[in-house]
């Protein structure tokens, strides 16, 4: 399976990555190589194999439902480029 340039551009846009026209060529061929590897893997018979969600052979530990942390409000506010009335300000996101 090969990828064309417009697909590379779409994926880059979805991931908010800037890729120049010249870079796109290289990225395209590298992703196509990865897809070829996946195609190869697809030919292996996996009928009796359980899907693997995580490479570690362990289970998720659960946390007690408790508020255990102090929120360093002032420090966190000072990290933001701009904040007002406690809100973090970002460039307007609706048209």
């Amino acid at each position: 399976m090969a990828l064309d340039k417009s697909e590379v551009e779409k994926i880059a846009h979805l991931a908010r990555l800037h890729i120049s026209r010249t870079e796109a060529e290289g990225v395209m061929s590298r992703i196509t190589d990865i897809l070829a590897l996946i195609d190869q893997m697809q030919t292996v018979n996996t009928d009796d194999i359980e899907p693997l969600a995580h490479p570690l052979d362990a289970l998720q530990r659960l946390r007690a439902d408790e508020v255990t942390e102090v929120i360093h409000y002032d420090d966190l506010q000072s990290l933001a480029p701009e904040a007002r009335d406690g809100l973090y300000l970002v460039p307007k996101v609706i048209e």
Binding site: L14, A53, L62, R63, D65, E69, L79, L87, Y88, I94
Partner: protein, 476 residues
């Protein structure tokens, strides 16, 4: 042409927990902006999620309540999209292996018929923050207090056939969730949110039509209005020869219409993949059993029991079991007063009206169950009449003292002394010679007029049955 409406609902409920789904920040509603968002919620580099046990318990509890399968292994996935109120750039959700699988619940339609509505799945995910777009001169303000609050998304099968059915289903869901006490489920505050998938097809057709998804519906009433508007819109388009476009639409309650969501990018390309920061969640039978043991009696079971145990009709049993606190209240009144029918009338009637008028929850009622039970007991033992009881009830709203003291202090005790009633009756006979004459000539219905006069004279305190009896004797 006759059309059939097909609706499926996606309902998000915020699970009631002290801390967030993956972080130990608090989840209080209405706090000052960003005072409930810690470094995890802000997605600072290096932070890792750890799952909240109670959130998982709540999800399993819901699954058991709707007889759903509980997944032995559930897996969290990343749903990727960019929006400032989602600082990580992805929402942790569950795609292929949700915690709760197929289940169902039963709704009662208007004609009394019961219908089973399938629930496809219910999965856990984290909520996003809030964006405020006004008053910041070209900027948007972001409040991340809500970010990371645990949600359960409950997805129904497309089994609903009208807006009314959809609301009935939603109310049933609400009732079950409140019984389980796993969420506040207050639509106006956003702790319960509803999206509706709506399509239409010619009656008899089995293929589904193209659907639209309506978002932003924040009350039961609006669910009905939004769906009805959308169904009409789709019919108009098709009848004019047009086609329905699959899209997301917003409901505007002010204009009572749905409209296309304006967004440059509605690309639903979330590029899900398993969340590498979380291991698979394995739920063993012991965990499930321990939760099953905490399940309360649910609305359907309670309704059946109330009907049987207290001899309630279907309507009363329904009304009194919708809400768990109401059901507990009624049960206490019925048992302490010893008269379930009167208890049902008072709780579903006077008390409901009082709560509604003042916008009170039953727990806020100034008339507690034991006091209402005493009031009913006084009707039963003839201390007061049913009519006077309403006066006492009114007094009880402001006066928290003992019911018997209120009756005594206001001099509302029913007159049951035969001598006193006979005096009243004599007076009525003397004052109404014409009616007395008519009665003696055989005009039976005049008697109720005379009883009414006697009641009036006693200011409602005479026992009407006794008045009736003594009048008859004297007029023989």
């Amino acid at each position: 042409m006759e059309w059939e409406t097909v609706i499926g609902l996606e309902v998000h409920v915020q699970l009631s927990t002290e801390s967030k789904l993956f972080s130990s920040a608090p989840t209080q509603f209405g706090a000052e902006p960003n005072t409930q968002a810690n470094i995890y919620d802000l997605a600072l580099p290096g932070v890792l999620p750890v799952l909240n046990r109670d959130a998982l318990k709540h999800a399993v509890k819901f699954g058991l309540a709707i007889n759903a399968s509980i997944s032995n292994t559930s897996i969290f996935d990343r749903k990727n999209y960019f929006y400032p109120d989602l600082p990580k750039g992805y929402q942790i959700s569950q795609l292929d292996f949700p915690t709760v699988g197929k289940g169902s619940l039963t709704i009662t339609l208007e004609d009394g018929e019961e219908k089973i509505i399938g629930v496809t799945r219910a999965h856990m995910e984290e909520d996003a923050g809030k964006s405020l777009h006004e008053d910041f001169h070209g900027m948007s303000g972001i409040d991340l207090n809500r970010a990371g609050t645990p949600l359960l998304e409950i997805v129904s099968e497309p089994d609903l056939r009208s807006a009314r059915e959809a609301v009935t289903y939603l109310k049933k869901l609400h009732s079950i969730i409140r019984y389980l006490d796993i969420s506040d489920a207050i639509m106006a505050q956003g702790s319960m949110r509803c999206d509706a998938n709506v399509s239409i097809r010619p009656m008899g057709e089995t293929e589904l039509g193209t659907r639209t998804e309506i978002k932003n519906i924040n009350s039961f009433r609006f669910v009905e209005k939004a769906i009805n508007y959308e169904v009409q819109r789709q019919q108009d388009i098709i009848q004019d020869g047009g086609r329905i476009v699959q899209e997301t639409r917003l409901y505007d309650a002010h204009r009572d219409e749905t409209r296309t969501m304006r967004s440059k990018e509605v690309a639903n390309d979330y590029r899900y993949f398993p969340e590498p920061d979380l291991l698979p969640i394995v739920i063993d039978q012991a965990f499930v059993n321990s939760i099953r043991a905490t399940l309360p009696e649910l609305p359907d079971a309670k309704k059946t029991r109330f009907a049987k145990e207290f001899g309630l009709n279907d309507y009363d049993a329904s009304v009194l079991t919708n809400n768990r606190d109401m059901a507990d209240y009624f049960e206490c009144v019925a048992k302490s007063s010893g008269d379930a029918k009167l208890a049902a009338n008072w709780v579903a009637g006077e008390l409901q009206a009082l709560l509604k008028k003042n916008n009170w929850e039953i727990k806020e009622s100034p008339i507690q169950a034991d006091r209402l039970a005493t009031l009913i007991a006084r009707i039963k033992d003839n201390t007061i009449s049913g009519k006077i009881a309403k006066t006492v009830f009114e007094a009880m709203i402001k006066d928290s003292s003992n019911v018997d003291d209120i009756i005594e202090a206001k001099g509302l005790k029913q007159i049951t002394d035969i001598g006193e009633i006979a005096k009243l009756v004599n007076e009525i006979i003397a004052n109404n010679p014409e009616q007395v004459e008519q009665f003696r000539e055989g005009k039976e219905q005049v008697l109720s007029y005379l009883v009414g006069q006697a009641m009036k004279l006693s200011r409602g305190k005479a026992n009407p049955a006794q008045v009736n009896q003594i009048l008859r004797e004297k007029l023989k």
